[in-house]
């Protein structure tokens, strides 16, 4: 067999064939060998043995979204704070001022949403 530019990929083709064959074979084997005894109670949702209390797809209050967004914002802040703290000596005053500006920006945002009432859970 004369080597072609594609011949190094022959093992890859074999692996692809084997993987595809397995992917088709194994579901076939489980269907043929495994028992299949459906029932109405098996089809219901599992809630640790209790009666289902309703569908899972319900409407949630938009407040959860705001809380999640706020969490991400301050989580990212913490992500930036850690490497800064590790390199505190090297970055010196420049880094300190930069970090102050960054944190102050977030504080301004925090004050804004506070005034807007986003942190007011009850209303």
């Amino acid at each position: 067999m004369t080597p072609t530019p594609l011949s190094p990929y022959l093992p890859l083709a074999v692996v692809l064939l084997l993987a595809g064959g397995m992917a088709m074979l194994i579901p076939q084997i489980t269907t043929r060998l495994g028992p299949r005894r459906p029932s109405a109670i098996k089809a219901t949702s599992f809630e640790a043995g209790s009666e289902s209390s309703g569908p899972a797809r319900q409407r949630f209050a938009v407040k959860f979204y705001v809380v999640a967004l706020l969490f991400i914002v301050f989580d990212v802040e913490a992500v930036f704070l850690y490497p800064w703290a590790v390199n505190f000596q090297a970055l010196a005053w420049f880094g300190f001022v930069e970090m102050l500006v960054f944190a102050a920006t977030l504080v301004v945002g925090l004050i804004y949403i506070w005034k807007k009432g986003a942190l007011d859970w009850e209303s």
């Binding site: 060998l33 028992p35 299949r36 005894r37 109670i41 599992f46 043995g49």
Partner: protein
Amino acid sequence: MGWLQSIVSKGLGWARKYSLFTYPYATACCGMEYMSVAASRHDISRFGAEFPRFSPRQADLLMVVGTINLKQAPILKRVYEQMAEPKWVVAFGVCASSGGFYDNYAVLQGIDRIIPVDVYIPGCPPRPEQVLDGLMLLQDKIGNQVHRIADREQPNPTAARHDLMLSMNK
């Protein structure tokens, strides 16, 4: 076809008995012994049963670990009914097996009043060695059972609700 069925049955039994996925239905102090069995000293993983699953869809061994009172009984029954076949049940300790010393109106006098049981492990609570002995008995049982190809039968029967109430008023 008979010989093929028997060979496949043996193979399936061998595969199933060494890959039991447990649903630990732990309600009482036997749970401590279950943890001990699962932990490294007694190491249930030597028997291929180390993988507790907390969904009945993924489990084939229901271990009823502890006292089942009448309020728990319908819940246990539903968990069993929601497990896919093949499935087996172990009554872990005397409370699950017979109600134990809770011989009163509030406790189910043995889980076999509502679901079929394969192995009963005595003890209050049983030592881990007893549990492993029970597990090996169950493995022998599974290995000797008939495992049919393309099994399309009815789900394993459980006690109906009125049977349960009757057995209470014995």
